[in-house]
């Protein structure tokens, strides 16, 4: 039953949805293997180019899969790919938050909440470091990161969009200055 592209997308992506613990970066390898090497939906060169461009688009980096599905088969395939990729994991989270809310007033839930907070904070800070490694910007990236964080601490109400635009502007200026 491998002649139906939609079935194929679901069979390939739905398990990955549940296997993708800890961010989408772990999905790039299976994406490449399945979509390029096994199925030849796009060429290796197209895959790399789409990967680069996908980083410009907003949203999770796993959106690369719907993007490739769109490139190869059109918008309906992209939609099926997105559903296959995000629905299974969302169902798990839904069940978890249902349980979470049901036991709202139990002392143990309070303990879980207080206990998980420092773990979450540690993970967020670790994520900052991981992302800094991925972004190739050198010292300029570190300075920008620190400046934005400092600015937001002083003025928490600042809208994120001008900050993002300023980041792009700084990097473009540095490039123009011949960095």
């Amino acid at each position: 039953m491998r002649d139906n592209i939609y079935v194929d997308l679901i069979v390939f992506l739905a398990p990955l949805s549940l296997a993708s613990v800890g961010g989408a970066t772990g999905l790039y390898a299976p994406f490449q293997h399945e979509m390029v090497e096994l199925r030849h939906w796009v060429t290796q060169r197209e895959f790399v180019e789409l990967f680069a461009v996908a980083r410009l688009a907003p949203g999770p980096s796993s959106m690369l899969a719907p993007m490739i599905a769109f490139k190869a088969f059109g918008v309906l395939a992209a939609l099926v790919a997105a559903l296959a990729l995000y629905l299974p994991s969302s169902a798990v989270v839904y069940a978890a938050s249902l349980v979470w809310g049901r036991y709202r007033d139990k002392p143990w839930r309070k303990a879980c909440e207080q206990g998980l907070a420092p773990v979450a904070a540690g993970l967020v800070l670790a994520g900052v470091l991981t992302l800094l490694r991925v972004v190739d910007g050198g010292p300029l990236a570190w300075i920008t990161v620190a400046a934005v964080a400092a600015l937001l601490t002083l003025r928490p109400r600042l809208h994120p969009l001008p900050l993002l635009a300023a980041g792009a502007a700084v990097f473009l200026l540095a490039r123009a200055a011949g960095a």
């Binding site: 613990v21 961010g23 180019e49 789409l50 461009v53 980083r55 410009l56 688009a57 907003p58 949203g59 959106m63 993007m67 992209a78 997105a82 994991s89 969302s90 798990v92 989270v93 978890a96 938050s97 979470w100 809310g101 002392p107 143990w108 879980c112 207080q114 206990g115 907070a117 420092p118 773990v119 979450a120 904070a121 540690g122 993970l123 967020v124 800070l125 670790a126 994520g127 900052v128 470091l129 991981t130 992302l131 991925v134 972004v135 190739d136 910007g137 300029l140 990236a141 920008t144 934005v148 964080a149 600015l151 937001l152 928490p156 993002l164 300023a166 980041g167 792009a168 990097f171 123009a176």
Partner: protein, 194 residues
């Protein structure tokens, strides 16, 4: 002033949930999404407490799936149940989906545009700055709980961030320890004081 109680607020309208998450999804460049959701949901609208949000963040990182969509489902579910979760998920994915379709259409041209990669790196750096501020803020609050919380946070950060150990085993060890440290003492199970 319905902030901070997080217990009983008037039902948040679905259209507001969609609007907020649509905007978050559309403008979420570079991966600093968690800080943005926190800003919109906790700081600006007081839809839930910071602690509840952070527990959602932790759950989202442990459970399979993308953190940002997971948190959206969590928030949506907490606000309006199944429909709320579906609306939040749809909202946060609408923009990115349209974005990749659009980007795939024009990508040949984009790659040739001068300064393209610089601009992307700059946007990403700013987004990471947002995430850093959120992390510091979350860390500061967690630290108020005492030395155990600071230790838990520090070990988690060093193990995952610096040593680059796989997240799941680290969390599997740290989360139960941390929760145990906060567990209500004695037999008075019905008196939930910290």
């Amino acid at each position: 002033m319905r902030q901070l109680t997080g217990k009983q607020h008037a039902a948040v309208r679905l259209v507001d949930i969609y609007r907020v998450f649509f905007e978050i999804g559309l403008l979420s460049f570079g991966g600093g999404l968690m800080s943005w959701i926190h800003r919109e949901v906790v700081e600006r609208r007081g839809w839930m407490t910071r602690e509840e949000f952070l527990s959602g963040v932790a759950l989202s990182q442990i459970l399979p799936g993308v953190n940002s969509t997971n948190v959206s489902v969590f928030v949506g579910q907490r606000l309006r149940g199944a429909v709320g979760a579906a609306v939040a998920l749809t909202g946060v994915l609408t923009g990115p989906f349209a974005g990749v379709v659009f980007a795939a259409t024009i990508y040949q041209w984009l790659l040739g545009a001068p300064g393209f990669t610089s601009a992307v790196a700059g946007v990403a750096a700013a987004a990471i700055g947002m995430l850093l501020r959120f992390g510091i803020e979350a860390g500061r609050l967690a630290a108020l709980r005492g030395p155990v919380a600071v230790l838990v946070m520090g070990v988690t950060f060093v193990a995952v961030g610096l040593l680059r150990w796989p997240m799941l085993p680290v969390v599997a060890v740290m989360a139960p320890l941390s929760v145990a440290a906060c567990w209500p003492r004695g037999e008075g199970r019905d008196s939930p004081h910290a």
